[in-house]
């Protein structure tokens, strides 16, 4: 009897113990779910009925100086699909088939991007237009929703491609001004948190918190779309005609430093960026500021400015050209190996005599010569603010005391043995055109923020030469143009000034590439009161390499169209019809 009682008690205790243990396990599990892992499960539960969207502020537009949009943003929609909604292959295929013709994305591609994806929601198509979005809405598919986005549009096509740059999928600028001004154009992102229904649509009454995105500022550039197109058209024609590998054209206003046009070739297509390899990426480089070259004879303007400004010579100072100039046991000859006998200083420019330029630099001495090279902005940034701008290289007795020799200054005097960007070269002529005042080149005119406008005022870099020296130099530049055949350079109705340049092409590691040249023309117009300074630089033209033949005609075409466009009246004698 006692043994039976003990057996019953034991069984009761066993059952009780099992119940207690099971209850304990359940309580522990409950504690884990409710207390320890609370955050995780709460977040998961919240995710199933609450969405958080990142709101992008409308990216500001890039406008030309007259308000024409060069780059703008179009509201668009990204097509988002919940991965759980497409977990069933059959229903996913049906939904994708319905969406495919609207979104223009193959159904298989849509399904593949969603299936096996561990994230909650996947974009299956981007940049849908308003009409496409409406068509998707009408389908009313479960787990499919549209997220507001924006798409960059370039109304003028590929105009100013390297200067403007392009944006990535996240709407951030990757190259050019799109990158340089990303913080200004991009605005500030916001968030929208809301409860949604089974279809992913926002509930009318439910939790909703919005931190509004701030729109980006519109940026008005100094670029003129007409002049930009003119520059690009003439550059393309010249590159094609001379079978050159590339080139650059820049147009600036000397009085303000405003860049009116800036183009380089080869170029890339910003409307369909191809970044498949490094060579394609290199096409987005703004070569007018990122690449340097030996400027060649156009640099004689700087040498001449140095000698004139110090009063060492005047335009009619006589000089004898024996055809050679010796420095450090090296012999310098003219480009055509000529010996011109008695010459005036003006003829050093008009005949582009290397020997004469070396003589002028020697007259000034290294200290003064390199002081003027520095004043004209060579070897330092122009302050344009353009991304990737380089400074070029100038070896001076101060920077390179161990290796600098007199022959270096002699070759520097006619633009060899130093490197500069096309923009630096152009700004030196712009200073001459602006009575010796060098302006900082600028590409931004105004920034229109929400609520206020910031105007970027012209900024002077300094008075590099005396006004009278600048005027003398302008007259000499006019003489240079007078000496060029009208078949190559004859601007109808206007008198212009300029200087040609034909330089050897340097190669990496030092030395020059055989039979490869850079032809250029650096000009100002009109000569008496310049409103334009233009550089045309052509890389490796085939056939005759002279700047007069290769680059001067492009300068003529640009100036001839640009001056009437800018409402600059022609000279009195041209106020009758001219026929070509």
């Amino acid at each position: 009897m006692r043994g039976q009682k003990w057996g019953t008690k034991w069984r009761v205790w066993t059952v009780m113990s099992v119940i207690v243990i099971v209850a304990g396990v359940l309580i522990a599990r409950l504690g884990q779910l409710q207390i320890l892992d609370h955050q995780e499960y709460a977040a998961e539960a919240r995710l199933s009925h609450v969405s958080e969207d990142i709101l992008s502020g409308r990216r500001g537009a890039l406008l030309d100086r007259n308000g024409y949009p060069l780059a703008g943003s179009q509201d668009s929609f990204d097509l988002m699909v919940e991965t759980k909604a497409w977990s069933d292959a059959k229903s996913a295929a049906e939904a994708a088939s319905a969406l495919s013709p609207i979104a223009g994305v193959p159904a298989e591609q849509m399904v593949a991007s969603v299936s096996g994806n561990s994230i909650y929601e996947v974009p299956v198509a981007r940049g849908l237009s308003y009409d496409q979005a409406q068509a998707v809405r009408k389908l009313g598919l479960q787990g499919v929703r549209l997220m507001a986005s924006s798409r960059r549009v370039y109304p003028e096509g590929n105009l100013g491609a390297q200067l403007l740059g392009f944006v990535g999928q996240d709407n951030s600028g990757l190259t050019g001004l799109e990158s340089d001004l990303n913080d200004i154009l991009g605005g500030a992102k916001g968030t929208l948190t809301y409860e949604k229904d089974g279809l992913g649509n926002q509930l009318a009454v439910g939790e909703r918190q919005e931190v509004a995105a701030q729109p980006g500022a519109n940026v008005v550039l100094t670029i003129d779309r007409y002049l930009q197109r003119l520059a690009e058209t003439e550059l393309d024609k010249t590159v094609e005609k001379t079978k050159a590998t590339g080139g650059s054209v820049i147009v600036v206003q000397p009085k303000t430093g405003e860049i009116l046009a800036m183009a380089s070739r080869p170029t890339a297509d910003v409307t369909k960026p191809d970044l498949s390899d490094d060579s394609k990426l290199a096409l987005f480089r703004n070569r007018a500021v990122t690449d340097t070259y030996e400027p060649g004879s156009v640099f004689k303007l700087v040498t001449m400015a140095c000698a004139l400004d110090q009063g060492l010579v005047g335009p009619y100072t006589p000089w004898h050209d024996s055809g050679v100039f010796r420095a450090d046991n090296w012999t310098i000859r003219n480009w055509d190996y000529s010996a011109n006998g008695d010459q005036s200083v003006t003829q050093i420019l008009s005949k582009s005599l290397n020997t004469g330029a070396a003589w002028l630099a020697t007259l000034a001495g290294p200290d003064q010569f390199y002081s003027y090279v520095d004043r004209f902005g060579f070897g330092k940034s122009t302050g344009s603010g353009l991304g990737g701008e380089v400074t070029g290289q100038v070896h001076t007795p101060a920077s390179d005391p161990g290796s600098w020799r007199s022959i270096d200054m002699a070759t520097n005097s006619f633009g060899q043995g130093l490197s500069a960007t096309p923009l630096q070269v152009l700004m030196s002529a712009a200073a001459i055109a602006n009575d010796g005042v060098m302006m900082k080149p600028k590409v931004i005119k105004e920034i229109a923020y929400p609520g206020h406008i910031q105007t970027v005022a012209p900024e002077a870099a300094g008075q590099v030469i005396k006004p009278e020296t600048a005027r003398t130099l302008r007259e000499m530049m006019g003489v240079v143009v007078d000496g060029i055949s009208p078949t190559l350079l004859d601007v109808q109705g206007y008198k212009v000034g300029g200087k040609t340049g034909t330089a050897n092409l340097t190669v990496d590691g030092g030395g020059y590439k055989p039979d490869a040249y850079i032809s250029s023309f650096l000009g100002i117009a009109p000569l008496d009161d310049p409103v334009l300074a233009v550089l045309v630089k052509i890389d490796e033209p085939q056939g005759t390499p002279w700047g007069t033949v290769v680059a001067a005609p492009a300068f003529e075409h640009i100036v001839e169209a640009a001056l009437p466009y800018l409402k600059i009246p022609p000279t009195e004698t041209a106020l009758v019809s001219e026929q070509r």
Partner: protein
């Protein structure tokens, strides 16, 4: 007897109190109406919120349409398109003869930047208080 009491009460001008069931019915109706008020209010709020969201969505859509149209205008006015149209439709080309004519008048001013690209004025909110703010102010002097 009862009739006599009623006549006496009427004679002294006293009002007879309503019967209890009537009071209860009135009270129930009052409670019912009061209970219905939040429901109506909630329903109205729901409906209004729905309308607001729908209007917001429409505003977003219309804005998207507007921006699309603005860019379409810009694309139609692009220089390359104008040149293409001029050459193809009107058979125009570069001039062979240039005639410069002096006119005794200043050149027209440069075009202004379209207002849509200028900075927007910050939205001004009404400074006048709402009805509820007035009530709260009245209640808390």
């Amino acid at each position: 007897m009862a009739t006599a009491r009623r006549q006496q009460a009427a004679g002294t001008g006293m009002l007879r109190s309503p019967a209890l069931p009537v009071v209860l019915i009135l009270a129930a109706c009052a409670i019912g109406v009061t209970a219905l008020l939040p429901l109506i209010q909630s329903s109205t709020a729901t409906s209004t919120a729905g309308d607001v969201r729908a209007l917001e969505a429409e505003q977003t859509d219309q804005r998207a349409r507007l921006r699309a149209l603005e860019l379409e205008i810009a694309q139609l006015g692009s220089l390359s398109r104008i040149e293409q149209e001029a050459a193809a439709r009107f058979k125009m080309g570069p001039p062979q003869i240039l005639n410069y004519i002096a006119v005794d008048a200043p050149a027209p001013e440069a075009g202004k930047i379209p207002s849509r690209y200028l900075a927007e004025e910050p939205q001004k909110h009404s400074d006048s208080p709402s009805l509820f703010e007035d009530i709260v102010d009245w209640m808390t002097p």
